[in-house]
Amino acid sequence: MSATVEIHGVEFAYPDGKRALEGVDLDIEAGERVAILGPNGAGKTTLALHLNGILEPHVGSISIGGLQVVEQNFAEVRRMVGLVFQDPNDQLFMPSVREDVAFGPANLGISGEDLQRRVDGALDIVAGTEFADRPPHHLSGGEKKRAALATVLAMAPDVLVIDEPSSGLDPAGRRELMGTLAGLPMTQLVITHDLPLAFELCGRSVIMNQGRVVADAATGVLLSDDDLLAANRLEPPYSFDRAKDSPRP
């Protein structure tokens, strides 16, 4: 149901020479929900792409539930780690949502009634049964986000890595998605700029900057350290700090 994530000394540079990860160390317990915060270009998404072998570290190692993320384990690792991309249009490419949700489990060799059950179950979790037979471009932004999540849940992952879950959602859609994530039992890495979401969902947060983990603590502790947040181009919402009772200048 859930698995540990161990990241040790991971370094990575893109082919154009841009160094994205400069030695990332991070250990996550099974079932833990951790927010990954940090400014644009900090390496958060690059790190996410390492977790199931889309990108491979030049130095360092990653293991999921004790299984090394190396080429011979890719099939198993990709079943274990579900990656939800930031733009659902990158994730939804089949003619209908139902087929898209079936794509992952079908790649695992599941077929027939088992496949049907997986698909229905995943759609049910995201409350997506009503749009199951629609083509992806007929969905609203919120529906697309939910459909994208379902495509990953159908693989029954032990670790869920979700990139910017609340971007582009209206407040109600954001609230529903948070409810869904809160109800999921697997280990979760939530990459986000949405600090209230991190505070509500994740007991622990990690701040990344310039390809490194620069802070790792309880979310409440991190979010009350103004200097740390400012140094990493983060800012808690104004309403966070009840002490400031006068309007902002």
Partner: protein
């Protein structure tokens, strides 16, 4: 453009033709178009017969004939040149007023015109009664290699996004006062086409990454399709055989 690209061709109805499985309609369309294509141009009666049969399918499909006619305008640019053939072809000529018209050219023009119009009508019937996604599924059932069907599916899926993106880029240009009137002002259009190409290429990479993340190994999974009633194939065979018989009769008689 916006949402609804796949509905651009499809007409939402609940007719017997709409309900038929896509693979049967694809086979029917192929049979009809092939018969039309091989029919000799002199067999005018055969073309009248085809037109009547296509018209009756349209009626069963609850498509308005006016709608089919308007959509037929799409072939206009392609048949336009056919209208010149009678004036430039050689051989026996007849005089109409003060212009000389080639008889062989007239037959040539008629041949292109009637076959284009009837062939296009068949594809209009197909696309108006079958959703694009279903056409692709039907091709899959008919054992068209999954490489072709997935390329088609990706193209249709992302065409929508690319046209949206183009629309946004054009809005952004207009918002900054760009209002092209002369060819010399075309440069930004060329640049934006380049930008669009790069963006689409990058999108392709991200989609591929998302596929790999879900265990894609280079082979698209195929899903089982519900089997269809034999009566559907029977109906299709009758239509296709009628078309084929007309074509054969026309070939024999001319």
């Amino acid at each position: 453009m916006g949402a609804g690209h796949s509905h651009a061709l499809y007409v939402h109805e609940h007719s017997a033709v709409h309900r038929m499985a896509p693979q049967t309609k694809l086979v029917a369309a192929l049979g009809m178009v092939t018969s039309i294509a091989v029919t000799p141009r002199e067999a005018i009666w055969a073309f009248v017969l085809y037109a009547l049969m296509i018209g009756s399918v349209a009626v069963v499909a609850r498509l308005r004939l006016g709608f089919v006619a308007v959509r037929l305008l799409a072939v206009a640019p392609f048949v336009l040149f056919a209208l010149f053939i009678p004036f430039i072809a050689t051989g026996e000529k007849i005089e109409i007023g003060f212009v000389e018209i080639s008889v062989a050219g007239l037959w040539g023009a008629w041949n292109i015109l009637i076959k284009a119009v009837l062939g296009a009508s068949v594809s209009i019937l197909l696309t108006a009664t079958t959703e694009v996604a279903d056409i692709i599924r039907g091709l899959g059932v008919l054992r068209v290699p999954v490489l072709f069907t997935s390329i088609a599916a990706f193209m249709i899926r992302y065409l929508e996004l690319i046209t949206d993106e183009l629309g946004r880029m054009r809005t952004a240009m207009t918002a900054r006062g760009y209002d092209p009137k002369w060819v010399s002002q075309a440069r930004p259009i060329a640049t934006s086409a380049g930008a669009l190409f790069i963006r689409s290429y990058e999108r392709g990479e991200r989609v591929h990454a998302a596929m790999l993340a879900r265990g894609f190994t280079g082979e698209m999974p195929t899903f089982e399709r519900p089997t269809i009633a034999p009566s559907q194939w029977l109906r299709v065979s009758i239509v296709v055989l009628t078309f084929a018989a007309t074509a054969v009769l026309a070939l024999v008689l001319t």
